[in-house]
Symmetry: C2
Subunit: 225 residues, 2 copies
């Protein structure tokens, strides 16, 4: 029957490093309900994910906005707020920053040029005619958060990477008026892809369950959403 079909299968998944923060929790829940569906998960930056889609190496990709010039089906399933972060809670100078223009006096630790976060950040600040000083470039969110927490500069990361740092007061989210930069998470596949029952059941699970599972686990993220 078609029901049995949904209960067996293998999924080749890929996600951005940022999405890997919630996707592992999601996969763990999915596996409990569908133990017959196995999967592997690759993590790449935006450039790498687009290569995976072009070469048809994966079934489904979790990422930010996809380019319009590729034949893809992209379905949105959760907001992805990019926020400005600084070290800890005890810095009154930082918590006093309310305007974008005040950020020009600060140093920033940023992601590498191929990253979706970096692209979204540059587009946003260019639109607001703000020039940021970048003191360091880091290839993943972990290194950015560590550098920010150690006092090497401010950073811009997805709120979805911050659950531990907020719980431990290692990072503060700055209260700048125009922020967050709101992006959206998509689940994506090639248009010509034959959709297996396992793909369909996983896709619907991601669309319906990601936000409830994630915010149930980390309710304090809700106040920033």
């Amino acid at each position: 029957s078609s029901l049995e079909g949904t209960e067996k299968g293998h999924l080749n998944l890929a996600a951005s490093e940022t999405a890997s923060h919630f996707i592992t929790l999601l996969l763990a829940q999915f596996r409990k309900i569908h133990p017959g569906i196995t999967f592997n998960l690759q993590i790449h930056n935006r450039k790498g994910l687009l290569n995976c889609l072009k070469s048809n190496q994966v079934d489904l990709v979790i990422m930010g906005q996809t380019p319009k010039d590729m034949d893809l089906i992209s379905e949105p399933f959760m907001n992805n707020p990019l926020v400005i972060i600084g070290p800890g809670e005890q810095n009154s100078k930082l918590s006093g920053i309310k305007k974008l223009s005040e950020l020009m006096e600060e140093q920033f630790v940023v992601r590498e040029p191929g990253s979706g976060t970096r692209i979204a950040m540059e587009r946003f600040f260019s639109a607001h005619k703000i020039q940021l000083n970048t003191s360091m470039e880091m290839p993943n969110n972990g290194a950015i958060k560590q550098a920010v927490s150690a006092g090497l500069g401010l950073g811009i990361v997805s709120l979805h990477t911050l659950q531990q740092e907020l719980a431990l007061d290692q990072i503060q989210v700055l209260n700048v008026k125009e922020m967050p930069i709101m992006r959206i998470w998509y689940i994506v596949h090639q248009k010509q892809k034959v959709i297996s029952p396992a793909m369909e059941v996983f896709k619907q699970f991601v669309i319906k369950q990601t936000q409830p599972i994630w915010t149930k686990k980390y309710p304090f993220l809700l106040k920033h959403l």
Copy 2:
């Protein structure tokens, strides 16, 4: 004077993703004492770091054991214990695991083949004639820890990546008799490199200050060292 020389300069640094957990804290302290020395930091896995050294792209590299067939100067400065991790503290089955052979019944989430942690892990288990079941491969420690914490398997990571997860009880370190796998952190440069005063002052800072700075910040790591 030679003292002035040490106070100005630029350093091109590279570190493994695992080392990035402590190197950012170290750089922040270093910058306070030597504000005239600027630096940039690349993060690569072992393979990428060896390429940096071969092509002479960087001044100093922080990494695990270097290969003997390259003309390098490697100085050890801190232990790097690799530990077996499982989800949270409330799993009595996991905390009951004491023998390596019991690990063969578990699923493991592992790093990619080019990673130093992966190489050290494979060497260790092969020497002990233990075959691990690997259920998933992840390209960074963050994804491994998230997968382990979500219940997707056990993992093997450097203790130096666990400061937040241990503080939040998201991860437990298993108490297996033969563990940890003890590796060592090295600061490395090409043998023929001309050592600038900035390189020398940073190298000595890393060798003398890393362990005190790191364990002062995260004293609970000491009980696992």
